[in-house]
């Protein structure tokens, strides 16, 4: 009896009919997400502590050996370097190009919708298609070197040089995400208080002055968002790399995603592959945290 009374007030707070409906409505989505998203997060932690080829029923527990192995694996260090250079490049160029296009489109310009549509086109194209076309354009006999030949320059074999290939991959990524970044910045620009700009203009502040002292600081929350997004997407890059270079030449574009794919699905080392995935996770979380802490603007934007 006392037990019953103890729980009675709780039961009253929820209507039976609502709870039942909620369970029925939630169940299908939660089963799918639980089995294929939530549970795998836990399972991944366990797999990363085993040596497992993905098929054996037995997963041999080896503690932190996979993580220790990362430290002495030159391929991992190469991959980490490649990923970081790539991520920083993508980040800087995403902010620069996205902001430039957004500033241009912010003016009451004829054909704005048309430009917006054009810039967005690469974003809806699949990574595979985009990478295939770029691969062809960067071919020694392709479009890029054809254009260079017109001005008398003999173009290099872009995808056969370590750093050129990484640069090409960076450019492709920025090209593909240009529309997203421009629209994000454009939305932020249009939400800025116009009065401040008019006042500054009356005080005689020129375009560059307003850009430096008003627009860019006021856009800081959006820049924070664009930077974090760019870093997160580049840490997780796979499709573009797989098709454009396959990680080559000589590991020059082997980002962490490629390394994980190769170790797990080509070489059958699921334990090691999962450990690499966790390093990616640590990078993503670390970047979000550092960026969030460092940027006061970021903090206020999240509130």
């Amino acid at each position: 009896m006392t037990e019953h009374r103890m729980f009675a007030p709780r039961r009253e707070r929820y209507e039976r009919e609502q709870v039942i409906t909620a369970v029925v409505f939630l169940l299908p989505a939660l089963v799918v997400l639980g089995v294929f998203v939530i549970y795998p997060i836990v399972a991944a932690g366990q797999i990363s502590l085993t040596s497992w080829n993905g098929f054996d029923p037995v997963k041999e527990f080896i503690g932190f050996d996979n993580y220790a192995r990362l430290f002495s694996d030159p391929e991992f260090w190469n991959s980490l370097l490649v990923t970081c250079v790539y991520a920083v490049g993508v980040c800087l160029l995403s902010v620069a190009t996205g902001l430039t296009i957004a500033l241009l489109l912010d003016a009451p310009l004829r054909g704005r919708g048309f430009y917006r549509g054009i810039y967005f086109l690469p974003a809806v194209t699949s990574s595979v298609a985009a990478a295939i076309v770029w691969k062809y354009m960067l071919d020694p006999a392709g479009f890029v070197n054809g254009v260079l030949a017109l001005v008398g320059i003999e173009g290099p074999d872009w995808l056969q040089d370590r750093w050129l290939a990484l640069g090409a991959l960076t450019a492709l990524t920025v090209w593909k995400n240009l529309g997203f970044n421009a629209i994000l910045y454009l939305t932020a620009l249009q939400a800025l208080p116009q009065g401040v700009f008019e006042a500054a203009q009356l005080d005689g502040a020129g375009f560059w002055h307003r850009l430096r002292h008003l627009t860019i600081p006021l856009l800081a929350p959006m820049t924070f968002f664009v930077v974090v997004q760019a870093l997160i997407t580049s840490f997780q890059a796979f499709d573009l790399v797989y098709v454009l270079t396959g990680g080559g030449p000589q590991g020059g574009t082997e980002v962490l995603g490629m390394l994980m794919y190769r170790e797990a699905f080509r070489l059958g080392d699921f334990g090691y592959g999962t450990a690499i995935a966790f390093v990616t996770l640590a990078l993503v979380l670390g970047v979000s945290l550092v960026n969030w802490r460092a940027s006061g603007a970021g903090r206020s934007s999240l509130r």
């Binding site: 929820y14 209507e15 609502q18 709870v19 409906t21 909620a22 409505f25 939630l26 989505a29 939660l30 799918v32 294929f36 998203v37 997060i41 399972a43 797999i47 296009i101 241009l104 003016a107 310009l109 430009y115 549509g117 054009i118 810039y119 967005f120 690469p122 974003a123 809806v124 699949s126 990574s127 595979v128 298609a129 295939i132 076309v133 062809y136 354009m137 006999a141 479009f143 090209w175 995400n177 240009l178 994000l184 454009l186 968002f225 997004q229 997407t233 997780q236 796979f238 797989y242 962490l256 995603g257 797990a264 699905f265 592959g273 999962t274 690499i276 990616t280 996770l281 993503v284 979000s288």
Partner: protein, 273 residues
């Protein structure tokens, strides 16, 4: 006035130059798809000297693009339907119903959204393998029938619909499930449209998951088919571009038709692939 006209001219020039950079790869894809094979090696002009429309038919013969296409359609349709139904039901529960652990559950889902796919993909693959779903439509579709992004998107939209509308319907004798289908769903068409477009584009363009769970042409999607075509027919650039173009057309058509909903979705959710 004169100054601003000149300024606008500069703006247009920069925007046009930028557009050219963006569009050239598409033009290049299109014209190469129509060139003869010999011409793809010696091309100096962007336009083909003769138009080879038969490249499309020949590319479709060189690889089972028809089958790939069908597989992509089946997979995308399945995933879009799943998102519209499963996400909507869950979103309604989160937006309107009071039940134990509602907030905890929602926070768990939000946290899961921040975990990179890489972390979950190996165990998810192992589960699909255990279920015997490798190389089946089940393996392509079922693991992605629901997604957290859709739940959040629809929940926000449902929450913005006045509760009074539902109350009125309930007073008139409509059941809770009835109000969901007769009040909420019809009013949420724009949100459903946005979700459907995003889900379609993600599903159609997805690569890693279909790459892992398919081994044969019977279930391979167009993206995987294309990627393997690069390896096998890498030197037949004209066929390759014909294939790439056919794979890209559905995304571009969807984009052109639903541009407004898509842009609105990005602006409001900050979503990025």
């Amino acid at each position: 006035m004169r100054r601003s006209t000149r300024l606008n001219l500069v703006r247009h020039l920069v925007l046009i130059a930028g557009s050219a950079v963006v569009v050239v790869p598409f033009l290049w894809m299109f014209t190469t798809a129509l060139q003869s094979r010999a011409e793809t090696y010696t091309n100096t002009s962007i336009l083909p000297t003769s138009w080879h429309w038969e490249n499309f038919a020949q590319a479709w013969e060189a690889a089972p693009f028809g089958q790939y296409y069908l597989n992509s359609i089946v997979m995308s349709a399945g995933i879009v339907t799943g998102h519209l139904v499963l996400d909507a039901l869950a979103a309604y529960a989160f937006a309107r119903l009071r039940f134990p652990f509602r907030n905890t559950l929602f926070v768990v889902l939000l946290a899961a959204l921040m975990i990179p796919t890489f972390v979950t993909i190996i165990p998810a693959y192992a589960i699909v393998a255990d279920l015997g779903w490798i190389d089946t439509y089940w393996g392509l579709i079922v693991p992605r029938l629901a997604d957290v992004f859709g739940i959040i998107l629809l929940r926000q939209f449902f929450a913005s619909i006045p509760v009074e509308l539902e109350d009125a319907a309930r007073i008139d004798g409509c059941s809770r499930v009835g109000t969901f289908f007769r009040v909420i769903v019809p009013l949420s068409r724009p949100a459903f449209a946005t979700l459907a477009i995003f889900s379609f584009l993600f599903a159609w363009n997805d690569f890693l998951w279909p790459l892992l769970v398919t081994n044969t042409d019977e279930v391979r999607t167009i993206q995987i088919g294309l990627a393997s075509f690069v390896g096998r027919y890498g030197t037949s650039w004209n066929y390759l571009m014909a294939g790439t173009l056919t794979a890209t057309i559905p995304s571009i058509v969807v984009f052109l038709f639903f541009q407004r909903a898509l842009v609105r979705g990005i602006a409001t959710t900050g979503l990025k692939d």
